[in-house]
Symmetry: C2
Subunit: 260 residues, 2 copies
Amino acid sequence: MIEESEVEEDEASAATEDLLDYEPADYPPVAVTVDVVILTIEDKALKVLLVRRAQPPFEGMWALPGGFVRPDETLDEAALRELGEETGLEPAAPIEQLRSYGDPGRDPRMRVITVAYVAVLKSVSGLRAGSDAAEARLVEVASLLGETGEPPAFQLAFDHEEIVADAVELLRARLESTLFASAFVGAEFTLAELRGVYEAVWGVELDPANFRRKVLGVQNYLIPTGSRVPPGPEGGRPAELYRVNQSVVEFAPVIRRTLA
Amino acid sequence: MIEESEVEEDEASAATEDLLDYEPADYPPVAVTVDVVILTIEDKALKVLLVRRAQPPFEGMWALPGGFVRPDETLDEAALRELGEETGLEPAAPIEQLRSYGDPGRDPRMRVITVAYVAVLKSVSGLRAGSDAAEARLVEVASLLGETGEPPAFQLAFDHEEIVADAVELLRARLESTLFASAFVGAEFTLAELRGVYEAVWGVELDPANFRRKVLGVQNYLIPTGSRVPPGPEGGRPAELYRVNQSVVEFAPVIRRTLA
DNA sequence: GTAATAGTGTCTATTAGACATTATCCC
DNA sequence: GGGATAATGTCTAATAGACACTATTAC
């Protein structure tokens, strides 16, 4: 047996008994939904997919796509289903649970606990809304969250702005500690494209030379394809194309900061 | 108006309408619970508080403390209430939501979505179980999760072992990017105690000299009290006592890894 | 005295980051 | 040619990490 400390026992309280011996009918009604923060990069900016539905209470408001969890599906499956219904696309990286939101009154209809997910799509120009939304659009995250200094042009339903903010913060952290960035780019990409992911998500400018040295220094991460892409109308030297070693992306150890 | 891409509209599907126009009575019954992973350090080891209740389906099994979310409380409030009922103690750092667990069948009674929280207690020797548990004990995390190489001595209810594993991983990440470690120690502490937090959570040994240089190098983090503590029976030079600057701990920017 | 721990100093290899230089395209 | 971007090379300051050394206690 392992070593552990015994803590003094105590009698169970009556209030606790009540809640443990519940019957489903006694339990106050709660609904559980899954909302998905679908992120992609377009025009060198991080964008989120918002939908506008006709039904109240969403009437005229922009909101995150989402819906109720069905009895026979896991939370992850519900999030994948919502993603498919909204975009018809596969995520470029495994969807990731963000956190749950459940303040009383956040949904005016009833008590709703929302489990939020983050999904990343490869940069696509022809994104097409699925069957689940009356209207959908990609909105720049920086302006939505007021990071540009100007007042946000969109007012989101419920606490969805907070959810988007949390999702972006999670994404920024993921780019620090994992090789997650390749989820935003296509199968073959230039280092400038990959650098653009970090610049869009972090809102910074990175030195191309140092960026190149750093990412190419990761063992078995980037595989040169041997081919090049012609430069844009601005000119410039043709850029080399790379692929990622997917197994390295998935199993690369999280970068641990050192402390002495 | 900001720049954004319009995505093609599409007709809403019948299935979607069904779920949006729900009435509470139509919605499949779901219960939402909050479980709390209460962590502390004892004997230089990270430990988690487990409880054993008499009622089925917990009968004879060790589990995380937790309970149902009440209609009038937020998820955070529910977690704080559970913590108070179990330990009677205040958390040493703000409780933090971990993630939610909702696989069908994870609780044999009905569909249960559990929102898990992590709470950190200062290292205490006289922890006392509250009114909400028939029996409670602190169990070493490393042996519970099989990190010692030996088979785990406890079998946890439901998916609670997975929850503990996720909580420990979150904690390890928090110690990397924040000045969170002081939540585990008392108001005044030695650098050896603080170092012991990292060593217990990360399962590593740190160089005392380098550790000292690094943490004292953080501006306005540690405040020397001027007093010392006598060494233990092993002897040694008396250690200086420090306090933390709480505002620095709370508002210190997350350490961002650089990338070119 | 020896053993043990706290605290200080020093050296080295690695790294971040700035920036110059060369290569190859568009116009 | 000039302008732009990609790719390579070089230098410096900061840091991680190893480790020697001194200080102060218990025994």
